[in-house]
Symmetry: C2
Subunit: 207 residues, 2 copies
């Protein structure tokens, strides 16, 4: 199934909303409930669910349990990929707080740190020195890396990750990485986002 990337993103969001309904007494939702929760139009919800072949009765709403199952099946969410956090422990500590749910469709299994001194940080997953990347990534079949380090080290570590078998990188380094065509990269460039906000929220700029 070749789903559009924006649909994949919305399915991930619907799924998280649905998980919060799961333990309610009447676990049914309407398209407008899901739409309101993630701020899209109800027709968008119905289109997305049609794309994954979900047909719920619209008069009684969708079964929350069945809809979660269908999204999981469509996005292979039961076949979770393994994730490594790579870089300074600080970002690891932060992400751990918001990403540590068992119900997410990925599994953080390791953290690799740059500096000796940061290795003392307490984490929920094993912490290794950066030199262990090739060994651990291969052994554990880790496919996704969150890369968070000063830009001058990023390309070098990125190359090592890819040689070790990483297929997708969430890049938080505010630098542009050179990667082969078959590697997925999503850039989260905090500097660009903040500079854009700085411009757009400037009271001297008429919009």
């Amino acid at each position: 199934m070749n789903l559009p990337e924006t649909t994949i993103e919305r399915l991930s969001l619907y799924r998280r909303v649905l998980l919060s309904y799961k333990y309610f007494e009447k676990p049914y939702v309407f398209s407008h409930d899901l739409a309101r929760a993630i701020k899209v139009k109800p027709v968008q919800v119905r289109k997305d669910l049609m794309l994954i072949g979900f047909t719920g009765s619209t008069s009684n709403g969708y079964s929350v349990v069945k809809l979660i199952e269908q999204i999981d099946k469509s996005l292979k969410f039961r076949n979770v990929q393994k994730v490594a956090l790579v870089g300074l422990s600080t970002i690891g500590g932060a992400t751990e707080l918001y990403l540590g749910s068992d119900e997410n469709a990925f599994d953080i299994v390791a953290c690799f740190l740059m500096h000796e001194e940061t290795r003392s940080v307490k984490m929920d997953y094993p912490v290794y020195g950066i030199e262990k990347i090739p060994e651990i990534v291969k052994d554990q079949e880790i496919t996704i890396a969150v890369l968070a380090m000063p830009p001058e080290f990023a390309q070098n570590i990125c190359d090592i990750l890819i040689m070790s078998g990483i297929k997708a990188i969430l890049n938080l380094c505010s630098t542009i990485l050179e990667v082969p065509e078959n590697i997925l990269v999503k850039d989260i460039d905090f500097i660009t986002y903040l500079e854009k906000m700085s411009f757009l929220s400037n009271p001297n700029v008429k919009r």
Copy 2:
């Protein structure tokens, strides 16, 4: 000037590339240099620079110094907005490492933390308890907040930030915030990005 948001993002990226050229002996660049650095087509660079009224000689390349000046002027980059990091110190520690340049078009001036125990963390800017938000945001005229905390606290703190005068929020909480129309929000939803990567990099998914 009503620049498209994607142009604003690219101008921020060009500017960072240009800053790295500034101390070269011959600070001139061609549109294809900038294009290669941020992975767009040269015609895109020329269009963006036309939009901000920059006309360089294309045979000798653009003057790096003049182009930085023109971008700064167009995006009011000399009139920097103040930023507060709000939430656990870990994300503050991480962002500080990559955002701490004097040349960025924003200025991180405060960090607000949730828990007593995290206040001991060493930072480059003053650290306050969350209850100081109204006072400090007003006094210092802070307009932008980076919000990083567990989702269950996010909306409450978001409301306090807006009441205190914040105009733009970079939301790292993996939850959707309700805000008035005049407030800018950029969502960086790590869970969605990682779930999407988990699906797209799954070897069992044919694409």
